[in-house]
Subunit: 359 residues, 2 copies
């Protein structure tokens, strides 16, 4: 067993030697021209990835910080929190902890968020914001972003807050065309960087809303991010090393080609899907709503998932995830995000074959 | 001019190759036994450094996040914010942005916080919390922590929140003996790590206070940190790479010996102080209140600080700081924090001699 257990869990995932090398660049002052050049130099490529004309902000936090920040910046009346898994379900509780009126719109784990149900709820006129997790990492379910966003656009006062933590850069998540007010993601999923850096955009309507809202605080104040970004800076001391890693990762992404990257994720995801069906397993997500970056496998064969993963670790120095929260053991998850290749995914699947045979 | 401009600004500072190497360890899952072993394995050494029996928490944020968090967790009535420089002055504004009643107790930049004045203000009974920056990085002034803490202890209901961002691990900052309710620091000062990781402690009284306070949010909720720390975990996905760096840095610190480290910082600070007086400069801080980790030099010779620093960069591939905010150019600052040695500081001072002669 190697010291290095390769991660095929849905984040954090493997960080490449090249990314690590970039993170080892000497420190620079965060109020220096060097930092401005670093951050400013990434802006256009980040906007291309987010498909937006708005600036892309960097927050030294994990994505939950910006999830909370979005609530503090945008919710005056009441927020509707779409829940269909462990992470999206939690958002309503976080909103209430921020002193916000919040209501959950809950779907069964494994199901996507339904646009029609969203329309019904928003039609009550009770809400001025809605939260959605595009790809619910705990269940491997992707909700139909464009359809849901179209519904939310029918309600002018409702701010759409979208978490793309485990879909961003694995598949297109266009901001402007969907009219997304806040879109946020993290560094440790398909961007294949260590955790601790969140990326997000804010629409003009959302900035205008924020201006009317008190108690936004400082650390996650979107207007503070805007003011600083205009000088290619961040409100607080940023995680310079991780940002250096992001800069190098953007080089990788644009060298590969954004569309090629999406196609690769799709192709690798297909390899995992083939393994699932070839081995008599089923998907936890319904057809048409399966994540591109990870696969949540229904354990219909009732294998000992914990033992299965232990064999992968011991014999193959790699690990998958044995299911999250209340579907632990009932499901297991395999990531194909980040820098994985046809060869590396084939290797994982061969290891899974071997371990399945040894159960 | 080298690509690597060595930083003698008061943070971020130089990160050693050893620290970078530690940060390049393969990723691990943050809900794994490996992470629990990593975080749990640091706890005793962190407690030794903080001089506390309370757990030490790790926040994936810069220190301002926890500064804001302390306000959100502890202030019910009104907070007194001691201000004597750019960073401490800002705290009253941040408190108000968090929706808290706040009042500044302002001292002239360059002066320490005065315990007697603190007593007078707290005697009004208006306050249930107080913020103090132990070492105000913008002015290089250290306030008398033990004396101020003793005063605050006279007022049972007043929570003492202390920022030791630029003093922690450069000099003793004991938590328990001073009865500090929240003590916080960051990774990019004397710990000589990249930014993006904050460390903090919370007293039992502060936990009890937090339980009575709503709207604490989630990301910086101290009770959430406590609940997770009991399992050697963090509430949100942590910056694993930086935490690996911290672990290696703790090895360095305890190999050197904590007392030896403090003595080294004191000695190197003395070398800088000698340069100041030998060159006809003065200190911005009064005698007895000068920072151990950095020196804020009064530009009484009225040199062109910007040009001086430019010569250091161009001819010696190192940079100091040309003063912060309203005292830019009127002062300049040299750091001796982190891994610096007698030799490296002698090198900086020789470069400063050379650049001074060339002005």
């Amino acid at each position: 067993m190697s010291d290095h257990i390769r991660l095929y869990i849905p984040g954090p995932i493997e960080v490449s030697p090249k990314s690590f090398e970039a993170m080892c660049k000497p420190m620079i002052g965060h109020r220096s021209k060097d930092f401005q050049a670093l951050y400013g130099g990434m802006q256009e490529r980040l906007q291309t990835l987010f498909e937006t004309k708005q600036p892309v902000f960097l927050s030294t936090s994990s994505a939950w910080g910006i999830m909370e920040g979005a609530l503090r910046n945008l919710v005056a009346k009441k927020v509707l929190c779409c829940g269909n898994g462990a992470f999206s379900d939690k958002w309503v509780d976080v909103a209430q902890r921020c002193g916000k009126q919040a209501e959950g719109l809950m779907f069964e784990w494994g199901q996507p968020v339904d646009p029609e149900t969203v329309r019904e709820k928003l039609s009550t006129g009770e809400f001025d914001a809605m939260t959605l997790i595009h790809n619910e990492t705990s269940t491997g379910v992707t909700s139909p972003l464009a359809e849901i966003a179209a519904v939310v656009r029918e309600f002018e006062d409702v701010m759409l807050i979208v978490d793309t933590v485990s879909s961003f850069s694995a598949e297109p998540t266009p901001v402007d065309i969907n009219g997304i007010d806040v879109m946020l993601t993290g560094s440790q999923k398909a961007l294949a960087l260590p955790p601790g850096l969140a990326l997000f955009t804010v629409s003009d309507a959302a900035f205008a809303r924020a201006e009317t809202i008190k108690d936004r605080g400082y650390y996650f104040d979107f207007l503070e991010f805007k003011k600083n970004q205009e000088k290619d800076m961040t409100p607080s001391t940023p995680c310079i090393h991780t940002i250096n890693g992001l800069n190098a990762k953007l080089d990788d992404i644009f060298n590969e080609g954004v569309e090629n990257r999406y196609a690769r994720h799709q192709r690798l995801n297909g390899l995992v899907a083939d393994w699932v069906t070839n081995n008599g397993f089923e998907f936890f997500a319904p057809e048409g709503y399966r994540s591109i970056g990870l696969t949540c496998i229904k354990n219909n064969r009732e294998i000992d998932v914990s033992r299965f993963n232990q064999l992968l670790i011991e014999n193959h120095s790699l690990t998958i995830n044995g299911g999250y929260g209340k579907i632990k053991g009932i499901t297991f998850r395999v990531s194909n995000m980040g820098d994985e290749t046809d060869e590396s995914i084939a290797g994982v699947l061969a290891a899974m074959d071997d371990s399945l045979a040894k159960l």
